[in-house]
Each structure stands twice: as structure tokens, then as C-alpha cells.
Amino acid sequence: MTAPTRQLIGSILAAAAIVAVVIVAVTARLGTTSVAELEAREDRQKARLQQREEAREERQKLREERLKRRGGG
């Protein structure tokens, strides 16, 4: 392979590297836009809220039972 051919291929590869770097940098700046990932995030949030709600109801039930027992005893 001659020097000019090598240099030409190197220049094109450098352009490809620039493309890759820009895509990575801009995508990182934009954050995720994947619909699947956004839906999964929403599902996780809903599940967390539901768990919290259930725990709150459980605590409320226990408190009421305790109060009932005290009132009865």
C-alpha cells in the first residue's frame, strides 16, 4: 500500500472516529429517549409508589389493631 493511499484511508477513518465521538457526546447530553427504557422507568416508579402505598396501609391496619386491642383489654 502506498503512502498516499494509507493517508487517505487514515483520513476517512479519522472522519468515522469524529462521527462516533459526536454521536456518543450528543446522545449522552440528550439522555435516554428509548421508548422501552422510558416505559420501564415509569413502571418501576409505579411499582415503587404501589409498594409504598401498601406499606402505609399495612402500618395503618396494624395501628388500628393495636388501638382496638388496647381499647378491648
Binding site: 498516499p4 493517508q7 462521527v19
Partner: protein, 141 residues
């Protein structure tokens, strides 16, 4: 067309357009370096003028395709907005100067002396078009 663009970008038209426009901007900066080497203004030891000019032409061909794709996405999905006058004017001028540059490179060789001026104009208009759209969008994130 609007539906096609939306489907291809899976609903993320703005984001895809910003990534593509930024790639074009990044490569445009590289093009300045390549043509500076091609014209002998910069003489790095690792790159001669002829391969630099050939690479400039090859990357330029790819850039034209990307610019047209971004322009089509922009027009079909967003149209002409009311508060985007600078962007619309810069983008329209960019397409016109780019078309003229291609005509000079391919057919009107007699106007070859205008190429440096046309190249710098393309870069300036591209920078302005990017700044008033993708640059703005990225700055707000």
C-alpha cells in the same frame, strides 16, 4: 412524509435531527482542516495535500447526503416556524450555496477560484443553522 419521518425516528425526530446535525457540524470542522492541508496552508508531516483533498471530497459527498436528510426531516416534520426566521434563512442560504459549490466542483470549473469563498460560506451558514437549532436545543438540556 411526516409519518414516515416520525416512524423512522421512532417518535424522537428532534433528537435524531440534533444528533445528525451535530455530526454534520463536527465533520464540517474536520473538512476545514482537510482543505487547509489540501491547499497547502497547513503542512502536517502525516498528511499530504492530495490525499487530504480526496478525503475532503469523500467526506463532503457524505455530508451533502446528511444535510439533505436533515433538511427533509426539518421541513416535513416541523415546517416553517414563526420564531425560527434566522434558522430558516440560514438553512435556505446554506442549501443554495452548497448547490452552487457542487456545481462549481462538478461542472463549472471556470469558477474554481470561488471555491475557498464558497467553502467558508458553507461552513459559516452551517454553523449558524446548527447554532439556531441543535445548539439551542442542546444548551437547554
Amino acid at each position: 412524509m411526516e409519518d414516515l419521518v416520525g416512524d423512522i425516528a421512532r417518535g424522537n425526530v428532534t433528537e435524531v435531527k440534533v444528533v445528525l446535525a451535530s455530526v454534520v457540524m463536527g465533520l464540517a470542522c474536520y473538512q476545514l482542516f482537510l482543505i487547509a492541508v489540501g491547499y497547502g496552508r497547513v503542512r502536517p508531516s502525516f498528511l499530504a495535500a492530495r490525499p487530504a483533498s480526496l478525503a475532503h471530497r469523500a467526506v463532503g459527498d457524505a455530508l451533502v447526503v446528511m444535510v439533505v436528510v436533515v433538511a427533509l426531516m426539518c421541513l416535513s416534520y416541523f415546517g416553517f416556524g414563526e420564531d425560527t426566521t434566522v434558522h430558516v434563512v440560514a438553512a435556505t442560504a446554506l442549501l443554495a450555496v452548497l448547490a452552487l459549490k457542487i456545481a462549481v466542483v462538478r461542472w463549472w470549473h471556470g469558477l474554481g477560484g470561488l471555491l475557498p469563498f464558497l467553502g467558508v460560506s458553507v461552513f459559516g451558514l452551517l454553523a449558524l443553522t446548527w447554532l439556531t437549532s441543535a445548539g439551542d436545543f442542546l444548551a437547554e438540556r
